[in-house]
């Protein structure tokens, strides 16, 4: 606290004088009184009272000094010992807690494992049954489909058999059929009005030889 101030007035003469005087005679200090107001003078009876210093017996002082140094060391060592004990205790508690936790965890894991195994066995059984059932179902479906297909083919064959004579062209009628095919022409070259009248094209349904010659791509170009 004093250092900066001391540095400030280090070189001043006044400081030097002050310092010397303070060394010779320490400054008089009036201690602050708390019971009486500050401005009241010292009581008459206590005006010249000087407290007698507590008598110090040198033997006792020496003994005290020795004992105190030992006492302090002992107390400090006891403190350290208690501190170590405390930390040891907390460590022990933590270790025990960890051990307990580990045991608990192991037990829980075992229980979970057991339960999982039990459930897995049940599930496996169920799944096997399901697979068998599925296979059976597929087989049934296949069977049914096959039967259906067979039935349909038979029906189709029967139908074919029935219609064969009516619609099929026999080899001896082939020429005639071709003739008929060629002759049967339909003219799509017409328009239909909004009212539904059909307006035929320019050359409606004429034989090929009477129809005007077709324009070819080569003629245009």
């Amino acid at each position: 606290m004093l250092c900066p101030l001391r540095n400030l007035i280090k070189s001043s003469v006044a400081h030097k004088v002050l310092l010397e005087s303070s060394i010779k005679q320490p400054p008089l200090v009036n201690s602050v009184r708390f019971r009486k107001p500050r401005w009241l003078p010292i009581a008459k009876s206590k005006e010249f009272y000087v407290r007698k210093p507590t008598p110090v017996i040198p033997e006792e002082a020496e003994e005290l000094y020795l004992r105190y140094s030992k006492y302090r060391a002992d107390v400090e060592s006891i403190r350290l010992f208690l501190k170590e004990q405390l930390s040891q205790k907390s460590v022990n508690i933590m270790e025990k807690q960890e051990k307990d936790d580990a045991a608990d965890l192991k037990l829980m894991e075992e229980q979970v494992k057991e339960y999982n195994n039990q459930v897995a066995a049940l599930r496996q059984e169920r799944q096997n049954q399901e697979v068998i059932a599925e296979q059976k179902r597929i087989e049934e479906v296949m069977q049914k489909q096959q039967e259906e297909r067979l039935k349909r083919t038979l029906q189709a064959e029967k139908k074919l058999e029935k219609n064969k004579a009516a619609s099929f062209i026999q080899p001896e009628d082939l020429d005639q059929a071709i003739e008929i095919m060629l002759d049967s022409r339909s003219d799509y070259n017409y328009a239909i009005t909004n009212s539904g009248d059909v307006i035929l094209g320019e050359y409606p349904d004429q034989p090929l030889d009477k129809a005007p010659p077709r324009t070819k791509m080569s003629d245009i170009s």
Partner: protein, 127 residues
Amino acid sequence: MPRIPLRRSFDIIKLAYHGCNNRPFFHIVLLKNISKRNAPPIEMLGTYDPMPNMFNEKLVSLDVDRIKFHLASGAALSKPVEKLLGLSGLLPVHPMSYITAKRNRQKQEAQAESQAQPAEDGKSEES
């Protein structure tokens, strides 16, 4: 800036006066060093009745576990508490206790001598 510089604050185990007129009774409490004597304590660690009872006993009760804990965690001790703990055997006996005992012993011896001397004088007179 405060006129009185701030003091370092630490925990201390000390006596708190809880008696009344002519009947001292102390609580042994854990307090901050800067708190008032009878402030609500951080923890109460025991009691001390300095007046001897009908069996000439001064009774002290201590919460030893907690005191040990606070010692371990670095709480300071006031001098009377150090003396009490020394007498209770938790800490070594306080140096000042030895000195007091020595003084008491010397006083007793002096008393015994002063009592013995008149008796001796009486004897010599008789003979």
